[in-house]
């Protein structure tokens, strides 16, 4: 399928047409916190700003989600599972780093013996329209994790801002089908594509933050008891910012509330996350919890799913209240001598 273009001024028309058929989620600037929200109107979208402060994960994993409802009688209980998906969805203007987080989340939540029904159902009914990054920030390090400011992984369609127009590139069959719904879109010209290419190359070069991730997973194997964790965690406050703002962190807690079984976001940084009923806690202090976060992202997930559980979006770097920079942590680990590997394998 050919690439298309749309004038920026026409974008609200396209969104308006889409909204007749789809639930649309897109970056909006409500209360000056950029996040992906269900669109009320086309004019609400803010595509010109930086990537959203909050990651788009809550389109698929809302902070609070009802798993089912129940009514309890004397000797009776009635269960009702909620309707997970009301209709087809489009998520608009997902940055390539965040799109990759969906791929990683799919690997974790939609694979294996048990599949997360709520996540999977929503994913299945969602078309992801990306927006290439022309201006990566200084905290972006997607290229270190195999991504790119104009990467296509996890996307069905990729938009790219080429000044007065968006270039529309279909990536998957589902993306093509979406574009076919708009026969009025103009075909892209050679010049548009060249311009996009140039912007992409510039953007790629503009990702200056580099993290040497190679071999970190192996190195971490022997580092469980390394003194480095003590140093790294010293300033950590064990708040939930890094995990809640992480596009891939998806740990949750399950609880009952007012006739509902719900799940809510939880964080490995909280002390009650692993607290046993007996009072014993396998991760009693910040050291163990910080180690869990780093290990999970750069070692455990590599072992179980073949790649790091980080997309390099830089949100945790921007939001951390004590400037505990994950680039520095990974850098410090990769700078350690390699003979640290454990020998009991």
């Amino acid at each position: 399928m050919k690439w298309k273009v749309i004038e920026k001024s026409k974008l609200p028309n396209l969104i308006g047409e889409l909204a007749r058929e789809y639930e649309i989620f897109a970056p909006v600037d409500r209360k000056s916190i950029g996040s992906f929200e269900r669109l009320a109107s086309g004019s609400e979208v803010s595509l010109d700003s930086r990537n959203t402060k909050k990651p788009p994960k809550d389109v698929f994993i809302p902070q609070t989600e009802t798993l089912f409802t129940y009514k309890t009688g004397k000797q009776e209980v009635e269960l009702a599972a909620p309707q997970v998906v009301i209709g087809q969805r489009v998520v608009l203007a997902v940055r390539p780093c965040d799109a990759k987080s969906f791929v990683l989340l799919d690997k974790f939540l939609s694979s294996g013996e048990y599949k997360d029904a709520y996540y999977k159902e929503k994913r299945k009914n969602t078309t992801i329209v990306g927006l290439a990054c022309n201006h990566p920030l200084s905290t972006c390090f997607c290229t270190s994790l195999g991504g790119s400011p104009h990467g296509k992984e996890g996307l069905d369609v990729l938009l790219q801002d080429i000044n007065d127009k968006y270039l529309i590139e279909p990536i998957t069959e589902r993306g093509e089908k979406l574009i076919e719904k708009f026969p009025w879109l103009k075909e892209a010209e050679r010049a548009d594509i060249d311009k996009a290419k140039k912007l992409s190359d510039d953007a790629e070069a503009a990702v200056k933050s580099k993290v040497s991730i190679d071999g970190v997973d192996n190195k971490l194997d022997g580092m469980f008891d390394d003194p480095i964790w003590e140093q790294i965690c010293q300033k950590c406050l064990n708040c939930g910012i890094c995990t809640f703002f992480c596009p891939t962190c998806c740990c949750f807690d399950v609880l009952d509330e007012d006739g509902k079984r719900i799940r809510i976001w939880d964080s490995c940084q909280f002390s009650c996350f692993t607290l046993h009923g007996s009072g014993h806690n396998p991760r009693p202090s910040g050291k163990e919890r910080m180690r869990q976060r780093i290990m999970h992202k750069f070692n455990y997930f590599v072992k179980t799913h073949g790649e790091s559980f980080c997309v390099g979006c830089g949100r945790c770097i921007q939001e951390c209240p004590v400037n505990l920079d994950i680039r520095e942590v990974v850098g410090a680990i990769s700078a350690l001598p390699t003979d640290k590997r454990s020998d009991n394998d």
Partner: protein
């Protein structure tokens, strides 16, 4: 500034080499513009890492509670007062802490600088005297530092640590004339419903990351009330009622203890102005019991105390 930094390093080095402390907790340059990060120095050769300028915003009192070793802490007025509260509440043995007081003219609120620059990213920033020099791609700006200070610094009446063991540099003039409760008074002047809607709006942003609790040196409870499960007092969802209650109760818990260091507002990733609650609590305690926290090492927190003549106009 450089002079201050130099003398800070000298003091730190002396404390370490004379074995008066095992560890110095201070600030070092962070990885982002206008960003410093807590720094833990236990070797004299590392004291060169220590810095001091108006970007040293973290509240280091947080790191004093629950430590076994003797520590020297770099403390602004607010930090020193919080350490004093922790000492008065028997959370920190006095003999384990040496407060290295630094007179402070206010710290820079990065959020204010960022919002001034709108979408442009700051790549480099330096604080030079009264100016902040920010640089980015294709721009360079000189900002007046005083326009970008944290709200709590604008009305701070204890820029010089009221309690300290060593003072770095010389005392700075205090702000005596400012009204620290303007914001609260403006809110008080609103109708109840208006206030309710205001707090609804602010607190509905909350994502329950607990950064406000984690950063607060006074939130040292082993199990926070929101984490208690038997009984489960209040929910942990981002339901508005639960979220408001979390913030209301947290404010109650710091009543007569909070010194308005502003850390909770600064760390809030969704920009909730928590000072609106904290300042109110401070005002209530001041007006009712004429108490200001963190000015003494002995005085008990007012909510653990009473006087027979306490006002009771609200009791039927």
């Amino acid at each position: 500034m450089e002079k201050l930094e130099k003398s800070l390093r000298e003091i730190a080095e002396k404390l370490l080499s004379e074995k008066k402390v095992d560890l110095i907790i201070g600030y070092e340059r962070g990885t982002r513009p206008l960003r410093t990060t807590p720094c833990f120095v236990n070797k004299t050769e590392d004291v060169q890492k220590l810095i001091w300028d108006s970007s040293c915003d973290n509240n280091l009192a947080k790191y004093v509670v629950d430590r076994k070793e003797k520590v020297g802490v770099v403390a602004k007025g607010c930090d020193a007062r919080l350490i004093a509260v922790c000492i008065a509440e028997n959370q920190v043995p006095k003999e384990n802490v040496i407060i290295i007081g630094v007179p402070c003219l206010g710290v820079v609120d990065r959020k204010k600088v960022e919002s001034k620059l709108e979408e442009k990213e700051i790549l480099e920033a330096t604080i030079e005297g009264e100016k902040i020099k920010v640089k980015g791609e294709e721009f360079e700006l000189l900002l007046a530092k005083n326009d970008f200070l944290c709200d709590s610094c604008l009305t701070c009446k204890h820029r010089n640590p009221p309690i300290q063991d060593v003072l770095v540099g010389e005392e700075v003039p205090e702000l005596t004339e400012v009204n620290e409760f303007t914001e609260v008074e403006n809110l008080e002047a609103m109708a109840a419903e208006e206030r309710w809607n205001h707090f609804n709006g602010e607190l509905s942003k909350c994502i329950r990351c607990y950064a406000c609790r984690s950063v607060c040196p006074l939130c040292y409870c082993k199990t926070c009330f929101v984490d208690q499960s038997i009984p489960t007092w209040f929910g942990k969802t981002n339901d508005l009622s639960d979220t408001m209650i979390y913030h209301i109760v947290r404010a109650l818990h710091v009543a007569g203890r909070c010194v308005d260091c502003g850390a909770c507002s600064r760390v809030c990733p969704v920009n909730i102005n928590l000072r609106e609650l904290m300042k109110k609590i401070e005002k209530i305690v001041k007006e009712r019991y004429n108490f200001k926290a963190g000015l003494s090492l002995e005085e008990a927190p007012p909510l653990g105390d009473f006087k027979s003549e306490d006002p009771q106009e609200f009791i039927k």
